[in-house]
Subunit: 333 residues, 2 copies
Amino acid sequence: MKKLINSPENVVREALEGIALAHADRVRVSLDPFYIVRKDAPVKGKVGLVSGGGSGHEPMHGGFVGLGMLDAACPGHVFTSPTPDQMFEASKAANGGAGILHIVKNYTGDVMNFDLAADMLREEKIDVASVLTDDDVAVQDSLWTAGRRGVGLTVLMEKLLGAAAEKGADLANLKTLGDSIRATGRSMGLALTSCTVPHAGKPSFELGENEMELGIGIHGEPGRKRVPIAPADEIAEMLMEPVLSDLPFKHGDNIILFVNGMGGTPLIELYIIYRKAAEIAGKHGLKIVRNLVGSYITSLEMAGTSITALRADDNLISLWDAPVNTPALRWGV
Amino acid sequence: MKKLINSPENVVREALEGIALAHADRVRVSLDPFYIVRKDAPVKGKVGLVSGGGSGHEPMHGGFVGLGMLDAACPGHVFTSPTPDQMFEASKAANGGAGILHIVKNYTGDVMNFDLAADMLREEKIDVASVLTDDDVAVQDSLWTAGRRGVGLTVLMEKLLGAAAEKGADLANLKTLGDSIRATGRSMGLALTSCTVPHAGKPSFELGENEMELGIGIHGEPGRKRVPIAPADEIAEMLMEPVLSDLPFKHGDNIILFVNGMGGTPLIELYIIYRKAAEIAGKHGLKIVRNLVGSYITSLEMAGTSITALRADDNLISLWDAPVNTPALRWGV
């Protein structure tokens, strides 16, 4: 295991300390329990957006805390759900009096713990709603889920709902908007290599020199099948076709297209994937109105990519373009 | 070799096509010869900033083309200098009538070819100056250089000179500013793994399971020494101490601190390095006034990191904060 770490047990705490030092202009960090909150939280009269999940997917979610995106994020240990206590404290720190919206990726532990945290918040008379992401078309149920897994759409969800909350949308409207984003976004991923969880010390799974895992989960959970390694254009097709046919996206749709790197894949390769994905979108009569290319929801040092498509009307485009000021996404500010 | 590519010979062209599709709002791409130019180039009356070098270091340089940074970038094949012809055409496309500044990393091929391109431009009565980066303290001469290599400081140089050019600085002033940035910035890097050049098909060098290469070059050139793998805090010290003592940085200096990933290292690890690097800077009495954490000058999928420190006065801070709108760095716009 070759990593820039000190010890497996301190990875999350030390990374949080680094984030606190690097981004004190935008966020504050709590180390007991672990959470990251925007510097000016709670923002009075604004719905507080809170997400979280296991660490190892950076910059998600901590890198998305700040103006125009999340109010708070709670990181669990690597690939481990945060606790209800973390979610509760993060939500209280983000509570500006207009309620809390939890953005929850569909993994059993995350869903259960956010439910418990919501109960705790309601006992304190804080309004809570939640939006789920379950955009991964690769598999129906999986090792860690009932239903589909929440993956790349989460990044877009956090940006779009964050912009809406900043503009003053109330809790009910944010919930409705989030549900509609959930309903119209789809993703699928692929791994060329495994990743190594620090405290495990060895790769989560094994892939042969000429194999890749199609439909990989962001924790290395099995996907659809293991297939021989293929050229980038074929890989883009293997991901785009299931994504586009699942919704289905229709001729004339406007979409936001997100080509994501899994953590160990360099940017030059993501642009080669984007090139073909955009061509495929065009062949389907889809117009890419906005895009994102980079490693935003990762699986430690896994090599691979995922593609997310989201149907986007003028409202979503305007929310996408709205100012954002987080460690990982910033524009207009 | 596991990469998201179609064929080694098409990597650069196809990545450029992807960049053209993804970032048509900010840049235009020429495929014959290869260069990337900001969409509104040439900007009349503004000095044109042009850089370039071998591909494989993305997002550098193409990802830094746009308002407030480079006017044009010319990518060579992977780890191969671009040709004088490319540099000449890119410079002409960026020429708004106030002269051209070449930002050149100190590698023998780059230096020679930018010199030839400058001669060609002068024959067309275009004023040209150049600024060199040679910030890598690891080794004096190396496989591909006379003198020190140009590495991470190049990213900061392009941002700062880009902002100054946008504010109307003339060619002579930009050259002076660039030389002073060159004189006050230092870097050093480290590799945990090798990288594989696509057309070579095998790793550029071999590192044992428990080895790392201290002072690595961005093409995998040998560094200072091969040492046993160490905890992140020790790695941060192995990089920071030579960087800080070389200039030397002095108690009371303000610095911009840049912790860079080599391409295959996930962000969570870079924050662990940043944490210790910031602590070491503090112990030396340095104040970090701005920072950058992420993979901005990479070596394909190499795992590793580099650290760059630059002494920063109020003028540089203000240039750092100025608006930038490129594929890889964006704020204020």
